[in-house]
């Protein structure tokens, strides 16, 4: 068997990675393994994760049966860094943090497959985390304010408006 990296030397290292019960095998020669620097016992590194990932991202082209709503148009593009969705699915890397915003919900199937989840539940940065919670609260109050005004409940609306002002001041102060 020849090395799958260089295709020249015989493969002497047979590397198996098992993810969620799926076995992925890699066959490479010792020279390529050393060059990659990640196959030496004791080293970490994500040798297989990228090939695995590009397989995951292939659902764009391979999965004709996937719901059309999750299909990203080829023109989808991050306005911040210029990366297109199709570039992203080839490289398997985002170009900047705004890519997440521009690709939006279309990333859900990918996250579902990689993580089994789409929403973060862990640590939140103290500073911006507080800001995020404050912003959420203000948005909720504004929605309620609109409803009150529509229902002509002006007294309650005035209270809500004051509350929103206080919170907005607090946010500006942070």
């Amino acid at each position: 068997m020849l090395c799958q990296e260089c295709g020249k030397r015989p493969a002497t290292l047979h590397f198996t990675k098992i993810v969620n019960g799926e076995k992925n095998e890699f066959h490479i020669c010792e020279t390529c393994a050393r060059e990659k620097g990640e196959m030496i016992p004791g080293t970490s590194g994500g040798f297989s994760i990228h090939s695995l990932l590009s397989g995951l991202l292939d659902f764009e082209t391979a999965g004709k049966g996937t719901a059309s709503s999750v299909k990203a148009p080829q023109s989808l593009r991050c306005e911040e860094c210029g990366m297109t969705y199709s570039q992203f699915s080839k490289i398997g890397r985002f170009g900047c943090s705004s890519c997440y915003k521009y690709f939006g919900d279309r990333l859900d199937p990918l996250f579902k497959r990689v993580h089994g989840n789409t929403v973060h539940v862990g640590k939140v940065p103290k500073r911006s985390g507080g800001r995020i919670q404050l912003k959420r609260k203000i948005d909720d109050l504004k929605l309620e304010l609109q409803q009150r005004i529509q229902q002509e409940e002006f007294e309650e609306a005035a209270q809500l408006r004051d509350q929103i002002r206080t919170l907005e001041k607090e946010m500006a102060g942070q």
């Binding site: 002497t12 590194g45 994760i49």
Partner: protein, 353 residues
């Protein structure tokens, strides 16, 4: 002038300690990936932008308020020789990608080498804590406290829904990768390893091992780490890894006991042969070294081999890597020469032990 103290010795100071369950768990590592707001990820960053990232992040540990962290030594990757990069990789102080592919890449290493903070790797910031033995919780506690110090001074790319935003979709959410390096010779010898590892992979963990021609992993070393970073809290991730590793430790211990009960002579013979060969051989390739060092390590754990300690065995694992050999003997060498120097280094180290 770049600081080269880290590439001269094979053994990091942290490795002198052993940590709990160090007969089976070699080391525990936690890595947290973070990025700065308003700057493209390193993949797309211009030289000027990656320099900005470096300047913003490198000053954080030097801040007066953060002196509690201790002293850090900053190494810019552009300023050191390829051989020193290789040694830093072999000591797990930096990743291969920081060594070879980064622009304005840098690492800040703590005095005892247990903390390394990488800048401009795949993400702007990667905080790594590497502890001996089974200390994955302790490593997480340390890493998250360092994360807090950075967060107090820089604006992270964080999204309400997706969490900490990373360049690779496999890291998004917590940005946390926790891993444990295990030495599992008895599970390999008793052919239970595949069953156990595939069970491990059912619960959201990843296993990495290195395989030779046969079915035995070279060095019998396996790295178990979390696969999922989104939708689980950091505590869930650490607890899950912790409890699975505890179970593997139990299985390995049972397998060792059974081996010693059923085939004491065969095991003792195998270990002492390996010890003899390592003590006297003139040529030793990396694969054979991996296997024989594993045998001797098991022998030390079982009390069959006296002399070398676990830290010495850890040291040999690093010393016998190509980069370190070259650094130690001071010149480039082809693989045959390397096998000769490797054999010599092992002989000399074991003779002193």
């Amino acid at each position: 002038m770049p600081n080269l103290r880290f590439t001269e010795k094979a053994l990091s100071e942290w490795m002198l300690g052993t940590g709990s369950d160090s007969d089976i768990v070699i080391s525990s590592r936690v890595r947290i990936a973070r990025n700065l707001q308003h700057l493209p990820f390193p993949l797309l960053a211009t030289r000027q932008q990656s320099e900005e990232v470096l300047n913003l992040l490198a000053k954080v540990p030097e801040d007066q308020d953060n002196k509690s962290l201790g002293t850090f030594y900053t190494i810019e990757l552009d300023e050191i020789e390829p051989i020193d990069k290789k040694v830093l990789v072999e000591k797990h102080l930096i990743s291969p990608s920081l060594a070879n592919e980064s622009q304005n890449g840098a690492v800040m290493i703590s005095e005892d080498e247990s903390i390394s903070i990488m800048i401009n790797e795949e993400d702007h910031l990667r905080i790594q804590c590497l502890y001996p033995g089974f200390q994955v919780r302790e490593a997480w506690e340390k890493a998250t406290s360092i994360d807090d110090l950075f967060e107090a001074e820089v604006d992270y790319a964080f999204d309400d829904k997706r969490g900490y935003l990373t360049s690779c979709p496999t890291n998004v959410g917590t940005g946390l990768r926790a891993s444990v390096m295990m030495h599992l010779p008895a599970l390999v010898m008793t052919q239970q390893i595949n069953r156990i590892l595939s069970a491990v992979s059912q619960v959201g963990l990843t296993v990495r091992g290195i395989y030779g021609e046969g079915s035995e992993a070279v060095g019998n070393l396996f790295q178990i780490s979390n696969q999922i970073t989104l939708g689980q809290s950091e505590n869930e991730i650490i607890d899950n890894l912790h409890s699975v590793v505890l179970q593997i430790i139990e299985h390995e211990k049972n397998a060792r006991t059974r081996l010693m009960n059923d085939s004491r002579l065969r095991i003792t013979d195998r270990i002492k042969r390996s010890y003899g060969i390592l003590s006297y051989a003139e040529v030793m390739d990396s694969k054979e070294a991996g296997q024989r060092l594993s045998d001797v390590r098991l022998g030390v754990d079982l009390g069959i081999v006296e002399g070398p300690s676990i830290p010495v065995m850890n040291e040999l694992n690093v010393m016998t890597q190509p980069g370190f050999l070259q650094k130690k003997f001071g010149h480039d060498m082809n693989s045959e020469e390397r096998d000769i120097y490797r054999a010599r280094l092992i002989r000399e180290t074991l003779a002193k032990a």
